[in-house]
């Protein structure tokens, strides 16, 4: 099983939240972060670059079979599913859409749950479908910590509500609280 990691998923209304979260991350926290946001297939350029500009991390769209490194943020590329493999590698796939989405949050979260087990924090933000709910359940089943953005704060609350409805959310938090949770998670020594 791999060491700690954080996976973040979201759709409509989540991009600006991710920007805010990244701007509060400490330097060299010692964990990789995987971000899976629903995005236009044609929007290939500028996505990761904008996130990179707001963070002290290196933000990249990985190639297939890229080795996972600490202190890097990996953003699922447009029109590929992003798996996290337990051999410390990112694996991309062109499989059919899941929940009408590619990249699918379920795929990233489910694979991360297998790879990181209880050493994983999964976060679901604002979004308009239930992609990610199944993945959050897998994270919880593997002993990881699951947090959803407070639906009352979301631009569109369907995504976090789906996780609340399937009992996969350990915590429901505001964005400020999510940032504190991430900081605590990172600061806990192995």
């Amino acid at each position: 099983m791999l060491k700690k990691a954080i996976v973040i998923g979201g759709s409509a209304g989540s991009y600006k939240i991710v920007l805010k979260i990244l701007s509060f991350l400490p330097k060299n926290p010692g964990v990789p972060i995987f971000i899976c946001l629903h995005r236009l297939r044609s929007a290939r350029k500028g996505f990761a670059e904008t996130l990179h500009a707001r963070s002290s991390y290196q933000v990249i769209e990985p190639e297939d079979k890229e080795k996972i490194e600490l202190n890097k943020i990996y953003v699922a590329p447009a029109n590929y599913h992003m798996y996290i493999d337990s051999n410390n590698t990112i694996v991309l796939s062109v499989e059919d859409e899941i929940n009408h989405s590619r990249p699918s949050i379920d795929i990233t979260f489910q694979s991360a749950a297998e790879a990181y087990g209880e050493n994983l924090m999964g976060i679901i933000l604002s979004g308009a479908n239930h992609d990610g709910a199944f993945g959050m359940l897998k994270i919880k089943e593997h002993g990881g910590l699951t947090i959803v953005q407070d639906p009352g704060e979301c631009e569109i609350s369907v995504m976090p509500l789906s996780c609340i409805e399937n009992n996969s959310a350990d915590k429901v938090q505001s964005v400020t609280e999510i940032i504190h949770s991430i900081q605590n998670f990172i600061s806990i020594n192995d």
């Binding site: 297939r41 044609s42 290939r44 769209e61 990985p62 190639e63 297939d64 079979k65 890229e66 590329p77 029109n79 590929y80 798996y83 493999d85 337990s86 051999n87 694996v91 991309l92 796939s93 062109v94 499989e95 059919d96 859409e97 899941i98 929940n99 009408h100 379920d106 795929i107 489910q110 694979s111 297998e114 199944f134």
Partner: protein, 278 residues
Amino acid sequence: MQNERSNFPINIADNIVANKILEVFKKEFNIDLFNLQNIVFRRRIALAFNILNISQQEFIDDYKILSGEQVDQLVGILIPDNNELFRDTETWIVLRDKILNKFISKENVRIWFPNITYGEDIYSLLILLNEFFPTLKFQIKVTGPSLYALQIISNGGLMKPKSRTSLANYKMVTGKGDLSEYFKKKNYVICFNTNYLSAVEYKQYKNSDCFEDDFFDIIMCRNKTLILNDEAALEFYNKILFRTEKNGIIVFGINEKVDKNLLKSFHAISLSEKIFQK
């Protein structure tokens, strides 16, 4: 493959089933799947058994419950492929503007699609050729592991017959908004018009003898190594690069890892679209 139904949550098969499949396929059917990427492979196994309506435990207990046709279908499902027309429109625009025009005067442009399980990339190229290079003489060879998949492709089968994404991609690449001349209804199902498939040959391969003896001007191998581990990907690259004619073109997937050492005898036509020339 047309009814993949992967919109439902699916569990990943465990390693016992994955190893059993590898063992059975090698021993009984002489099909070598050992080089597939572990996690994607295990998910595809779970999906395949779901589609074929067979339990994984039944398979472990007695793999002979699979008929020859089901084995062939299983192989096709295990290997996903590009499922929309003109996927990654920038790639097709580079092909349109920088590559295909170089072959106009050639007597016969030889094009190869290796390791195919869906037809969308083939149809996309045929549309592009028809729209912009109608006088270009070409021959297309398609190879793949599943006879079932190749038969569907030869009949114009589409992964998504009414895809808005495909139409939007087509508009971006051709400037046109109507794809209807390229499709027809067959038994109430929308298919690619097989009139455009006359210059296409199909060949199934089994085990690792999966590559043609010919040399090719253009090899369309987008996202073929995603399902392969490092060792198998390297073997694939070596064979593909060897089969490229001098001044020939190879087209990879945009986020596909391409070993830089292997491209010493190639230069990049487009690094961002991963298109290279020998």
